[in-house]
Symmetry: C2
Subunit: 671 residues, 2 copies
């Protein structure tokens, strides 16, 4: 296979990455004759994408001569009307994909549906799943499938590990349009339909992005994404009326402020008429917000919503609000409670075009934390869930960490509020979608670590279908990328093993935040222990953890009663979260009969050993995949091994020193 170029390195899409799969002559015949009769930016793009994908991924040149075999691409309505078909109507963005002996039909409920249908066809061809008789009808479970870029205008990317920004350089919008188009393709192919293009922390030059200084360039960028069905979101600074206008304050109830936003929003929409809206990080980690004027977040968000409403724009209002100047001595304050405490009382107070964006857990994208109690509880407020695709706490795209593994757990979480109360069941109902902090930068392979592409892929797939298992996703991505080979099968297994491995050598049992401050890479058991960020474990010589039961901070009571009862009782609480909810002595017996401390030792020794085994497995692939990918992954795995060794030894030494208790199995722990 060494003769094939590694096409992902050439900015191309998953389904064209690697090798050329066999296509039956009959399918090839149908695919060679593409008919499309509709006009429109997106529908034409759908046809073009099919042509391009067939040419590059399958060596098929799709002409449009009338023959007895054909592929039709269009909207359901048009195809039914023009060709007398009777394709059933689908939900928005949905599609029908039918294959008969002579005809492939890709029919979208709307042009975007047709585009998604085309990509699905290409994926399935590659997965070997298209045969005569294939009949698929699909629509995305959720309407909001968003990527958030934390890109700064100076070209840096906050928590970015794949090179500089795709969009900015030296405080200017500057990009390679071909690369952006490739990126739009990458995203559209997995169903992404909105993208915020600047950091939620809107600082420096970024504050001006919503002004005429930048809007013409933003509009050009929007026009690259538009044919792919992707609308832009702009992160805005709540203090803009003071920063950009000449108002003395940004009080949301001040009519002058509302009027400033209205005018500015009108201006923005003249440049980008289909802007999806504003993302706002307010009163969070030093960003300005309504609190400083004594107003609620509902008052703040609704004021912006009013400005956006005439344009069908929406406010994506982040719920990452907590006291980041906390006193570590004060055991009564619990950061985990903050989002619920802030937003639950406001339920029902937000306007129709305000969408709360809630991080999946109460902290901040930790390796293991519970699902936020806001999900399932918010009933009268629109909201979406925020995930982090970029590996801030999960190894900086140096360590391999396949995130759909975690996301599957999140989707399986039962909020226990009413029937069908699992997160995946709420998706498309109370939870209207996902926002994911992107992991892509200027690195040629998109994501730094080649295998970290699977996280972006999986994110899009899950936003589309929250019922997908992480194994199915890993299989899809591996086969799309490496072909239907032994290599893909091995890589799938490596991906699936990677999250548990990372979790084993990281902070133990849901304790969170034992990372080096600021950089969030590598172990520092007390790195955040005396900080203002509100993230403590309070380990002493006897015990560790925060009691979040009613005897402690009472965080458990933010959950539904049935759920609270589970978390409240160490015997029922999932062990991977036991130190999140409980303060336990080191000699606490875990379910395997060994002590908590011994379990900490065990998992950390095992995590390291499993990284070693993973490297052996990877080295077994040598010669069977592109040498560049092989070497790139191997060099990162070697850094991961070093990192895992640091984690193992620092964590184990930390507890060894604290407790004085050696490893029961006699393994060496440094004193």
């Amino acid at each position: 296979m060494g003769s094939h170029a590694y096409k992902i390195c050439e900015y191309d899409c998953w389904f064209q990455a690697w090798g050329t799969p066999d296509i039956s002559p009959s399918l090839a015949g149908m695919l060679s004759n593409l008919r499309i009769e509709e006009k429109g930016e997106i529908i034409e793009r759908a046809a073009a994408e099919l042509r391009r994908g067939l040419a590059r991924g399958f060596g098929i040149s799709a002409g449009s001569k009338a023959r007895d075999q054909e592929t039709l691409v269009g909207t359901i309505e048009h195809l039914n009307t023009a060709l007398g078909l009777s394709l059933p109507s689908q939900k928005p963005e949905g599609f029908v994909l039918q294959v008969t002996d002579t005809r492939i039909i890709v029919a979208g409920q709307d042009p975007r549906g047709a585009l998604y249908g085309v990509y699905r066809l290409l994926f399935l061809l590659r997965l070997g799943k298209i045969t005569a008789g294939t009949h698929i009808a699909e629509a995305p479970a959720t309407s909001y499938r968003i990527i958030n870029h934390w890109d700064n205008l100076d070209g840096t990317v906050e928590r970015g590990y794949a090179g500089k920004s795709l969009f900015y350089q030296d405080n200017r919008i500057k990009y390679d349009p071909r690369r952006i188009e490739d990126y739009a393709r990458l995203l559209a192919s997995i169903g992404i339909n909105r993208i915020s293009i600047n950091n939620a922390n809107v600082r420096g030059a970024a504050k001006g992005l919503i002004t005429e200084a930048y809007l013409p360039e933003v509009a050009k960028l929007a026009s690259i994404f538009r044919p792919f069905g992707i609308r832009l979101i702009l992160s805005i600074n709540f203090a803009s009326p003071c920063v950009l206008g000449d108002l003395a304050a940004a009080d949301p109830l001040d009519p002058a402020v509302a009027s400033w936003w209205k005018e500015q929003t009108d201006l923005i929409y003249r440049a980008i008429p289909d802007l999806a809206g504003f993302m706002v990080k307010a009163d969070s980690e030093f960003e300005p917000g309504p609190f400083q004027y004594g107003r609620t977040h509902a008052e703040g968000a609704n004021m912006l919503a009013a400005a956006l409403r005439p344009h069908n724009g929406e406010v994506f209002w982040r719920c990452f609000v907590y006291n980041c100047a906390q006193d570590w001595r004060d055991h009564s304050v619990d950061r985990a409670k903050a989002a619920y405490d802030h937003f639950m009382p406001l339920d029902g107070g937000f306007d129709e075009n305000v969408i709360l964006q809630i991080k999946f857990g109460p902290y901040d994208f930790q390796v293991r934390e519970p699902v936020s109690p806001l999900f399932g509880a918010l009933l009268k407020t629109r909201h979406i869930m925020e995930l982090q695709i970029t590996q801030e706490y999960t190894g900086h795209q140096i360590d391999l960490c396949y995130l759909p593994w975690l996301w599957e757990d999140i989707m399986s979480f039962d909020t226990a509020r009413g029937p069908a109360s699992r997160v995946r069941e709420l998706m498309g109902r109370s939870i209207e979608g996902l926002a994911g902090v992107g992991n892509v930068g200027l690195d040629q392979n998109w994501t730094g670590h080649p295998l970290a592409q699977a996280n972006l892929y999986g994110y899009g797939r899950l936003a589309w279908d929250p019922g997908l298992s992480s194994e199915v996703i890993a299989h899809e991505w591996s086969v799309l990328t490496f072909g239907d080979t032994e290599v893909a099968e091995t890589i799938k297994k490596i991906l699936l093993a990677s999250y548990p491995i990372y979790e084993k050598y990281n902070a133990p049992f849901g304790i969170c935040f034992m990372v080096n401050p600021g950089i969030h890479y590598g172990p520092s058991p007390e790195g955040y222990e005396f900080s203002k960020w509100g993230t403590y474990h309070r380990a002493d010589r006897r015990s560790i953890g925060i009691d979040r039961t009613p005897a402690g901070t009472g965080y458990t009571e933010q959950y539904a009663p049935q759920k609270a009862a589970v978390f409240r009782d160490p015997a029922c609480c999932p062990e991977n979260l036991i130190l999140f909810f409980h303060r336990l002595p080191y000699d606490y017996r875990m379910k395997n009969g060994e002590t908590l401390l011994q379990n900490i030792y065990n998992t950390h020794f095992e995590g390291y050993d499993e990284v070693k085994a993973m490297i052996d497995t990877w080295m077994g692939l040598k010669g069977n995949l592109d040498e560049g990918i092989y070497a790139s992954v191997l060099s990162r795995m070697e850094r991961q091994l070093e990192n895992a060794g640091e984690w193992r030894d620092v964590i184990n030494t930390y507890f060894r020193r604290k407790t004085g208790i050696p490893d029961a199995k006699g393994r060496v722990i440094s004193g």
Copy 2:
């Protein structure tokens, strides 16, 4: 006193800061008639400085009409010859200061001596120490009285806490020439005679400072310092032949490298003929050096020395060489041993114009660490001692920390090698001077914290006279700055109390490095515990500290036998260093009969309380000194109190959690 301007804020010199002291009519008469007959840049500057100082500090206009009262300024040789005086010869840079009923004579051994004599006259007038009959003969104890600037060409200052660089902006040499002249005056008045103008870490644009791109501007800067008797030093990058030239390597034994340096040095000296030489940080914290070519530091330094010798230039070669990629698990490696291990074997191998620059202690300017064993031991190698005036580990010029208190301890340290073996007795003998990392930036009051000026003042005074007590220095600076008042007396006391207070709430008993990594401000008990920097305390539930006796790393044996014996035995070891040299259980009995742990608790409670008391004392000064200085100091003291509270509580909590032992006096320690 509120009517007086705060002149230090106007970039003026200490002795003109505050108020106008009374001068007797007879002294005023003599001072009003200044005679100077010699020509020369420095001697004329001496006269000009006297005129300026009298006018601005004393309201005396020094004309030059012949009268029966006069002040003579000149060199001893000239005055003896021209006026038939018989002034005794002095050591270089020395002076005679004589006052009779009709005449004041300021006679320098050389022009610089006359300049120093003039400043001494101004200081003493202000201190009220000049009367008829005054007869002083003085010369500096050391020849090298150096300020090192860690200024980067982008305008930042590494470890600078007083604003941006005086010299650079946006990778250009850019300064206010008036400000630089004021700075030169400030330094010359306390005897500084050399200044390195760029960071020892020579990175980015700074690498080009020794090229024609910058040399004309460097030469202009040199010409401002020159009349004040101050010569420039340039920090150079050892890899320059590769970076600036087109050589593939910088091997010091390669004739092409030596020849490159010779030519480059000739070029530099054409621009600045009196350049004092090069400062070199080689093989240290990622800087290039001779090690990478398998050469010794002697070979590296001597190669540069050869290039400098024709120009009377010298190499200032830093001894801050250690393994900064250490494995914390490896208890056998001891960073404290590095400088001695590297340089002692090379004693005698350095050329005549190489001067080793050795940090005062084996670590890195910690609040309390022992004096480096190299002092007293190096017998055949020229060397100076490096101090840090900027408050990297001592509170960032937010916390008040009067450093001459520490420096007096250093000067009093007995190396126990031969007779007169105290550091202050070696000064001017084996230790040829001091290099101090400066604490001055663009802040209008020079040093950020107004009282941090006393550290710069004290540094210069100590380099001149290592026998001065920190109390005398505090008295001088306070009276020069605030006049001979109650205020000055109170401020002197505040200064003298400040170091012990800071030490009390910092890392206990010489354990060092319990600071936040990188920034080096605020407590982080395990901030460096698992790092690569080689600075560990290895506290566990029973004990803390590094055993540096022969039973441990053997660091004690780098000292003279008598000294080693003292450090080796916990019962003899000074208690403020006891955890530097020994690993001790928390119940170790200290000399006061209380345990080590209880002493840690005590000092940390006391340190905080003493900051509070200091603030009360400062507030008692309100109305008696300039409101701006009062408020500026008060606001910093309030931040210091907060900082001291963090130190107290973090350190005490850390040990409380580790040991499980509460404070014997029942004070509250957070769990």
